[in-house]
């Protein structure tokens, strides 16, 4: 999708620190462009992060970080068309970081500690539909990459090639991982029913 062009412009520079690093700096056009992108995609990205990390505050943080990164990166992007792919990849990778952070011994001090029951738990009031809760519980039982490919594929409707780019793996890896994940899900849900 083509978004508004955030071409760097002489005006609207933000801060001397950025100038001292002699790198492209965000402009007002960048403000507008990122704002557009944020408005249009925030909810989808928060939802994706939510099903990956389990709780809304952390999901919001991950998306916020992703857009903060995009804001800095936009002037360096080869094309504005890359912005959405960039921020999607940032969200997916941000969620991976959350899991790594939570697994550490110092997770109590992590800013990514779990906030409340995960969205797929029975204690969570997020989901009304039991069928969906069971499906997401099954997804949560998957570990690592199999879980990471499903949300981008079925929630963001990203192609396998786009997911491959985000995860820095080959398209074939994404396809085979997704197939295995779906098969595992089907088995799991059959056993649960």
């Amino acid at each position: 999708m083509t978004e508004a062009v955030p071409a760097s412009s002489p005006g609207g520079r933000v801060g001397a620190a950025a100038e001292n690093r002699s790198e492209p700096v965000p402009s007002e056009a960048t403000d507008r462009f990122v704002a557009e992108l944020y408005e249009r995609h925030r909810l989808a990205l928060v939802s994706t992060a939510l099903v990956l990390v389990g709780d809304r505050p952390t999901a919001e943080d991950v998306v916020q970080d992703a857009f903060a990164g995009l804001y800095r990166a936009v002037p360096r992007l080869a094309s504005p068309d890359k912005a959405l792919a960039y921020v999607r990849a940032s969200v997916i990778n941000g969620c991976r970081m959350v899991h790594r952070s939570r697994s550490r011994a110092m997770r109590l001090h992590s800013r990514f500690r779990q906030e409340g029951p995960p969205v797929w738990s029975a204690e969570s009031a997020v989901l009304d539909r039991e069928e969906s809760r069971l499906a997401l519980q099954a997804v949560a039982r998957l570990r690592g990459r199999p879980r990471e490919v499903l949300a981008p594929r079925y929630l963001l409707d990203m192609s396998d090639a786009e997911i491959a780019g985000a995860l820095s793996v080959s398209k074939a890896t994404v396809s085979s991982t997704a197939s295995r994940a779906l098969a595992a899900l089907a088995r799991d849900l059959r056993e649960q029913s």
Binding site: M1, E36, E39, L43, P57, E60, A135, Y154
Partner: protein
Amino acid sequence: MNAGDLSRIEDRLRRAYGDVLAAVQRDDARPEVALGSLPGRPSRGAGRPGGRHRWLVPAAAGTAVAAVAIVTALLVPSGAQRQAPPQRHGTLRATQAPATAGPMMAYVDGGRTSFGGLNSVIPVNLGTGRTLAPIKLRVTGGLIDELMSPNGRTLYVVTLGGPENSSPKTAPGEVLPIDTTTRTAGSPIRLGGGFPYGALMSPDGRTGYFLEQFQGVATVNFATNRPGPFITIRGALTFALTPDGKTLYVVTQDTLAGVPVSGPTLSTPTSASVIPVDTASMRALPPVTTRDDTGMGKIAVAPDGRTAYLLSFQQGITGQVLTPIDTRTNTALPPIMVSASVTDSSITISPDSRSAYLYTGPGIMAVDLTTRTVRWTVKLGSPIWSWNFPQGPSWQTQTVVSPDSRTVYTHGDNNGVYRVDAATGAELAPIRMGWLSSDIAFGPDGKLYDLSGGANGVPANRVPANGVPTISVFAVVTGFDPATGAVSPPISLPDVVATSWYIMMLSG
């Protein structure tokens, strides 16, 4: 795993993710941070508890109402004659009526920053292209929908309520009648206490129906501007009204069905997902038995009033089905199989009632309702994300059919509005109007109007007068005359605090 199993697990996964999106969407429509507390730059940790961040989001978008109107426009000729009931097609709300003398007017919801956090409606004279003084609404809750009386004298604005000078909050829904002559708002009419999600008006303009999410339908007597009976229907999600106004069809989400509820019209659907309501008695009738397993369907009534069409999912079937419902007997007829994807989310019936057009993101599928076959499918442009409860994210869903049923219009990206020959499915030259067009509909004057964030493929991108530097898009109204091919000069609405998408409703 065979293809059938794969399809089933994929559908189930999509539904689960769709539920999460819907939940996030609902949560976003709840009370918001106070005005002026929004950061202008992204910062780490801004999303922690204690206030959802709204980085770079205008305060007026506080509710960021997902799936409902953030900006709503209503076009109406003054002195309009009796109108047909509104037809809901996805997010499009339009009423069609013969053009009458007098200027075409647009009433655009103005957002919440212009007047210290209060909502407003901005009248626009489409004949002169000039905006009039905004009508201040003494509520802080987000605007949900609008209705126009058949005589064009009263505009009814559905809001989330919230008194003046309170911080934005979600209150029980209210309806504000606005005198379009004096441009003043009257006393609010309280609805049933739930989250209002849509509005319809009876053809005679005497009754308003307001769908309250998962609760039922609130009614308002517009002759007295007092609340009428509340029709309790658990799991209510979408609804449609027959052209004669006698029957309201409410689609429910079946996971909530069967829950014992109390109310004047008890309804405990167990398997069906479509509940007819007799509007004379304001009572729910026995459910129409369909094979819809999800209750996530969209419903539209054909203009001839004979048939309602439910677009939904059924167990064991890949894609969606179109289930005709005989409105005389309230029985489901054999479904028409359509292989549309899960994100497809709108159904539009042509004025001649012979075709249904499904938005297939990005593109359109034409279904011949007389032969019950798919006539053609065409892909158009690039998709735009929008939000379409309950499925969650979807593509822009507005598909509009010309009054003569010969041309289908839709929009998908910043190239403007796409046109397709209804008979052949051949794509015609797109109309260069709008930018990331958010809503299109035919006005009573026969012109196609577009409400979007720019014009001629160019975003508005203006800095507002109130100095909030992060607002990037404003509403722009553009008209297209199919007879001459002329596109009218865009009308910018700098006072409108727009966000990502708009909903336009036409009335005449």
